[in-house]
Symmetry: none
Subunit: 199 residues, 4 copies
Amino acid sequence: MRSQSGPDPTRRSERSRRAILGAAVELLGETGYNELTVEAIAARAGVGKQTIYRWWPGKGAVILDALADAAVDVDAQMPDTGDIRKDLYAIVRPTVAELADPRLSATSRALSIETLGDEALAEQVRDRLLRPQFDAVKDRLRAAQRANQVRADVDLDQAVELIFGPMYYRWMFRIGPLSEEYANDLVDLALAALGTDTA
Amino acid sequence: MRSQSGPDPTRRSERSRRAILGAAVELLGETGYNELTVEAIAARAGVGKQTIYRWWPGKGAVILDALADAAVDVDAQMPDTGDIRKDLYAIVRPTVAELADPRLSATSRALSIETLGDEALAEQVRDRLLRPQFDAVKDRLRAAQRANQVRADVDLDQAVELIFGPMYYRWMFRIGPLSEEYANDLVDLALAALGTDTA
Amino acid sequence: MRSQSGPDPTRRSERSRRAILGAAVELLGETGYNELTVEAIAARAGVGKQTIYRWWPGKGAVILDALADAAVDVDAQMPDTGDIRKDLYAIVRPTVAELADPRLSATSRALSIETLGDEALAEQVRDRLLRPQFDAVKDRLRAAQRANQVRADVDLDQAVELIFGPMYYRWMFRIGPLSEEYANDLVDLALAALGTDTA
Amino acid sequence: MRSQSGPDPTRRSERSRRAILGAAVELLGETGYNELTVEAIAARAGVGKQTIYRWWPGKGAVILDALADAAVDVDAQMPDTGDIRKDLYAIVRPTVAELADPRLSATSRALSIETLGDEALAEQVRDRLLRPQFDAVKDRLRAAQRANQVRADVDLDQAVELIFGPMYYRWMFRIGPLSEEYANDLVDLALAALGTDTA
DNA sequence: ACCTAACCGAGACGGTACGTCAGGTCTTTCC
DNA sequence: GGAAAGACCTGACGTACCGTCTCGGTTAGGT
């Protein structure tokens, strides 16, 4: 027997949904993640708290939705100029720049905190926010592999992690600067591991 | 002119300090980080809340101290057998295993959440918990560089990050398994980037 | 000029009306007055909330209607045997018994709460629920006055209050038992005040 | 095993207690009982809500305490001039006047609503607020009984109720005016029932 | 036999207050 | 004067209902 109906999604107010997600990202920019409260989101959105709790289990889920919603627009495509190094520069540089920007970085931190604290949310974050970019890079590397610019025996998942991993690590623990020079060096170092030639 | 004295550290109760740190790690193991409260720590430690607030600014600082305290004992030394690959296996495998262990991993997540949410704590975490291991690996790589096992032009900081970054990235976003095989492959891939030979 | 129409009573669903009033009395019996909610009435009656708010201004009005509806059947007539004492016993005893019954008393309490809290409802309660009985007793006393069983100078309103007042007072503040013996004594005492003879 | 300690009354802040009770009576005067909220009391008193809930189970109990506290000062003594009629005038007239005053009456209504809705509070109200006056009148009637101004066979409890009952009844259901003339007539009528003489 | 106006069930909505929880501060009492 | 204990003010939590509103789906008369 299946019942347990819950609210009826067809009756959901799109107006309220957008107001809530909008208010969430706004407030996330203005205050830190820890300072962000459901009450503030509701107030800013001009919405009753119940309307939030009716559709989301809690603050983390709202933020995830808000960020996923905001990210949809910018789901950048991976360029393919034929030169894998150049293309990686093109994708890594702006990502590094984004992490270096205190404003944009704040949302990433919020996201990461959620990810660390809640396994279910972690899956959502991984699949809805990270995966698109991850797969885009992976596809580009596969093409490079076919073009003999990347060794055939390289595991492409590990290859992508070799690029993004150090970047997030440096960002997360604030180990060093996130400059354009760093982005270039990172790509060069990774390609040294992946490339067919020693150059 | 107020002397801004604050409490007198010489009169501090070592008994209370240890009870608090002990209670913190215990509770961190029993419940998640978000569920951990200062009140619970005080109650478990048989201590007044004020005694915590007298000596630490907040929950994060207590946990950091607690973990740093616990970590002191295990501050592993980096081996040096002359074979850099073998030595990296020896350090990366147990680290990966630790992240794979749900019990031990929980404390790392707690740490990371603090790191993400509080810049001051991030520095503490970086310097007191990560740095020792980081520097140990860096020293070992420097030796390898001198032994011509690592290219001379490699930036050693980036080199260390190339090893630890992907590992934390995979752990943080739960991207893939953290197996011993993964540890080996990671080291191999990193050494492909760093090594003087193509092998 | 707006016609200020409001809902059209001719189209009102008698089915819903009865279901609502029925649900109200049921719930009043099951839970206290304060715990009674419009939502619960609507749910129990299988009715939309709007159907309640369309026809009644609020919970109090619904309850009043429900109780008035239920009371219609029992609007007892005052007997007239010629013996005023005997007739007063006949009306006071069951009224006391009703107040003594926890089940029936609950509705009276609900009624009284409304009365106390809302002046407009108080008038309704007074006129629709109390007045019939009040006037019946008053008429009977007038007859007794004509029969020289009650002093001619007695104000009949005050006379009725002299009987019902102490009864409700005792009930309301739970001052003493509401037994048949009490009912008899009350009538005797009141008649001592009203009667032409000392007996 | 008995524990379940609850808060320690010796540590209770007298300052907060008085502020809360004061705010409660103030607000009761400004708004109706139904409009009175715990949050408003806390805000007005400059007190945390928790401090209210720590010491009282809910709004009703606070109000009861507040009114009992306020009533303590005015716990009028019953005069004894030797003339029972005159003395009853002296006590009934101001009581009627108080019920006639919309301002003072509001608190009585609040009290009564609590009384009707909560049995435990009813006992408190009866014992702490009503009883003193009730007993004072009863004592005075006992003296009158000894002075042969009241019949020896009269039950004094019922006698007191014969006076207060009609008064509250008229007030509660807004049956008629609560004038000084009414007060006099009520006393006269009651004494007709109680007196040794027919006059 | 259709039309159309309005009631109906349902339930989402913006709100208010609830009673609870934890934060960080302040006070009391003891050692 | 530090420490245990715990009351205090504060403010967010998640829930329960409020009274309003909007949505299809019945019901009526009225034509």
